[in-house]
């Protein structure tokens, strides 16, 4: 899909979420879904398979996040999947998150950890990153087992890498 079309979808989703008054929640749910889509080959192939009817794919989305996500998020994902743009959902969501962050005057802080963070840890980590970068951050946590341990935080162009994976890679290259 072209960049302008991805931008168009992102703008539409943000405006709908803002109209519904729950942009922060929606963009958070969309972000988690997009990362899950990236990490699951089966889910990605199911939601992007053009041979499966759109209604069936939308039903899969409904079954997947219907119980845990807001109705707005479920409907918006169903809209994108039904339009046959499931393959571009991660890119659209990334734009949504950036727009949402900008709307809140925050920078997106994508954090990857091997295990899930508690809400208290997320709060302290956001505060620590804001202190370190001097910017307000919109923290998004991705659970990524390949990190092995520790945390990798990306704020704008800055990467703060405290992961075990990177340490191991450094040891390997030094060897």
């Amino acid at each position: 899909m072209s960049e302008s079309r991805i931008e168009g979808y992102a703008r539409a989703l943000v405006e709908i979420a803002e109209a519904e008054g729950n942009l922060a929640v929606v963009e958070n749910e969309l972000f988690r879904l997009a990362r899950a889509l990236e990490q699951s080959e089966n889910l990605r192939s199911t939601l992007t398979d053009e041979s499966i009817p759109a209604a069936r794919r939308q039903a899969v989305v409904e079954a997947l996040i219907g119980g845990t996500a807001t109705n707005t998020t479920t409907q918006l994902v169903g809209l994108v999947i039904g339009a046959g743009r499931g393959r571009d959902l991660p890119a659209i969501v990334d734009k949504v998150v950036k727009r949402a962050s900008s709307a809140q005057n925050k920078d997106l802080a994508e954090v990857r950890t091997a295990v899930a963070l508690t809400p208290e840890q997320e709060s302290r980590l956001a505060a620590a990153l804001e202190k370190a970068t001097g910017k307000k951050v919109n923290l998004k946590v991705v659970v990524d087992p390949s990190v092995l341990g520790g945390v990798v935080a990306t704020v704008g162009d800055s990467v703060i890498d405290g992961s075990v994976r990177t340490r191991l890679d450094q040891v390997k290259s030094r060897l």
Binding site: L125, K131, G162, K172
Partner: protein, 179 residues
């Protein structure tokens, strides 16, 4: 002995010695001899002279011919000697030239062989060094791979829940203290 006795014995009946002729006989004999000598001188001597001259001329001609032949032979011998000299000179020149070429070829060949040997030695050294380096790199890579795999296994095994939380807390604290 008898002859001496005859010469010595003088016959008193004879008017002159039996060995010497009569005077008239001497005169006649002398005149006859003169006539004969004159005839010989007039007729025999020119013929003899002519025969001698012809013989002399023939001998001279033969001598001249022999002299010419000798001269030609000498000239021919000189030519042959010159030719032999030329051949010897040419042979010497060719031999010298061949020697020079052989010396040049030998020098160039030695230089080329020396250069080739040096090149081969350098290539051999480089190949040995490259092989050593390659083997060393491969060994180092293998050790590195095994060590990193072992390190990953050891680290993964030690990363229990409390270790994970400790890493996260350390990260939060270090980032918070960074500024």
């Amino acid at each position: 002995m008898r002859l001496i006795q005859l010469i010595a014995v003088e016959d008193p009946s004879q008017t002159h010695h039996w060995l010497f002729p009569e005077t008239a006989e001497i005169i006649y004999g002398g005149i006859s001899s003169l006539i004969i000598f004159a005839a010989i001188y007039k007729f025999g001597l020119p013929a003899a002279k002519k025969a001698l001259n012809a013989r002399t001329e023939r001998i001279q001609k033969e001598l001249d011919g022999a002299s010419n032949a000798l001269s030609q032979a000498t000239q021919e011998a000189s030519n042959i000697r010159a030719a032999i000299g030329d051949i010897a000179g040419e042979r010497s020149r060719l031999v010298a030239e061949a020697d020079q070429q052989a010396a040049t070829m030998l020098t160039e060949g030695r230089a080329r062989i020396t250069a080739e040997v040096a090149d081969l030695e350098a290539r051999g050294d480089a190949e040995i060094a490259a092989s050593r380096s390659r083997s060393s790199d491969e060994l180092r890579g293998e050790i590195s791979l095994l060590a990193s795999q072992a390190a990953q296994r050891a680290v993964s095994a030690s990363l229990n829940a409390s270790a994970q939380q400790e890493l996260i807390e350390n990260f939060i604290n270090s980032v918070g203290a960074a500024r």
